[in-house]
């Protein structure tokens, strides 16, 4: 089992099987790490917002830096109209970031390395953004598919391309995160396996690769959370400020 680099993505039941109707909603290792991530997020930000001192302590600084970082990201990409969605994008970024980071601890499970999780998040964002777009602009939101300044001859083609690109948003968004996490963790597992199989003589090279990959993967974990959040902001910007 340990030699198989894909076995780290196995989901297994913890505790009894729970069934609601035809659906199996048993508590699994994925659920465990979702809960761990959310609980640590809530803990950190609760601690970081408890005291209000002029000179913030470390945890307060962390919370406030994250707050300003994300609020700046949102106002930069989606403008001031996106303010009501700040809490959602903040939660999204933190959730993805913490799931990614928890995955970097050995023997843990990476929630975001499962396509179904990322896809549900992306689909929710896609549907939500579309609904917001239609509420804000009515059927005028369909103008998103008709870019201005395109010759009339090319228009049918462009509209089709735009619609396809719009519809592929949830897929690209979810697959980007899932594939990044899965590929990175598989690579690390493979190099880790080489350390054992090449032994004391040749194991040093894959070990050094593993160390370097760990650093890279921590970067990727942050970067993918950031990309996920900023793409959400960009989609939201399309829905809020329709000027295509």
């Amino acid at each position: 089992m340990a030699a198989n680099p894909m076995s780290q993505f196995d989901v297994y039941r913890i505790g009894p099987e729970i069934k609601v109707g035809a659906f199996d909603i048993s508590f699994t290792n994925a659920s465990l790490f979702m809960i761990l991530s959310t609980v640590s997020i809530l803990l950190i930000f609760n601690l970081g917002s408890k005291k209000n001192s002029i000179l913030p302590n470390k945890i307060q600084l962390l919370a406030e830096l994250s707050y300003t970082f994300i609020s700046k990201m949102i106002s930069d990409t989606a403008g001031s109209k996106a303010k009501p969605y700040f809490a959602f994008i903040f939660s999204l970024f933190m959730f993805v970031l913490f799931c990614n980071m928890f995955g970097m601890i050995p023997y843990t499970f990476t929630v975001t390395s499962h396509i179904i999780v990322t896809f549900v998040l992306a689909a929710f964002i896609f549907i939500g953004v579309t609904v917001i777009g239609f509420i804000k602009h009515g059927f005028g939101y369909l103008k998103l598919f008709v870019p201005s300044g395109v010759p009339a001859v090319l228009l049918p083609l462009i509209v089709v391309i735009e619609i396809i690109s719009y519809l592929s948003r949830p897929i690209s968004l979810s697959v980007r995160l899932f594939a990044n996490m899965m590929a990175g963790h598989t690579m690390m597992k493979v190099f880790g396996g080489f350390v054992i199989s090449l032994g004391i003589v040749g194991g040093w090279l894959p070990l050094s690769f593993s160390v370097a990959l760990t650093g890279l993967e921590i970067l990727v974990a942050f970067l993918q959370a950031y990309v996920f959040a900023i793409l959400t902001c960009i989609y939201l910007n399309d829905a809020l400020n329709l000027h295509h």
Binding site: D24, I25, Y67, I115, L205
Partner: protein, 196 residues
């Protein structure tokens, strides 16, 4: 050498992955739908709770904290600015006082100097006048003396010559003739003695 091992390792990794895919339950666990519903359920549950707690409780508090800190910092900056202005005003006042007192000291000094100079001038005038008077008196005296001198000398000369003649010749000579001679002589020689 390193390159070779690196490429070999990559090759092996693909080999291992392929082996894993074929060996165990056929492929990626992600594509096994057994726990999809469970994952969706727990995702919605945890994410929903987290979103609610963050948006209703924690994020407003953080934003409040940031706002209050910002306003407090602004207040402090304002207070500091005010104090700086105050101290600037005080400094100006101090400078003014210093310059004023300097001017005052200068004027006092000038006054004192003027007074002293005036005193000196007055005293000098008095002294000058005195000296002038004395000089004038002395000059008058000298003039008087000078004016009297030829007469006296003439007189002495006349008396002396008359006595001389008397003793030498034994005859009394008329004083008036002698005086005429002396006058003539003294007139002739006066220029030589007095220079006037």
């Amino acid at each position: 050498m390193v390159k070779k091992i690196y490429f070999q390792s990559i090759f092996f990794s693909f080999f291992f992955i392929k082996e894993a895919f074929t060996a165990e339950s056929g492929g990626m666990p992600q594509l096994n739908p057994e726990f999809w519903v469970s994952q969706i359920f727990w995702l919605i549950l945890t994410f929903g709770i987290m979103y609610l707690v963050l948006s209703k409780l924690i994020l407003p508090k953080i934003s409040n904290n940031l706002e209050s800190r910002k306003s407090q910092i602004l207040e402090n900056i304002e207070a500091a600015e005010k104090q700086r202005e105050d101290s600037d005003a005080k400094l100006k006042e101090y400078d003014e006082i210093i310059s004023k007192s300097k001017l005052e000291a200068n004027s006092i000094f000038n006054q004192a100097r003027e007074k002293v100079l005036k005193d000196i001038g007055a005293k000098r005038e008095v002294l000058d006048k005195q000296i002038d008077n004395e000089i004038a008196e002395a000059e008058k005296e000298i003039d008087a003396l000078r004016k009297n001198a030829p007469d006296k000398i003439n007189k002495i000369a006349i008396e002396t010559s008359s006595e001389l003649l008397q003793k030498l010749i034994g005859a009394e000579v008329n004083n008036s003739s002698i005086s005429a001679i002396v006058d003539d002589l003294s007139k002739r020689n006066g220029d030589k003695y007095y220079g006037n």
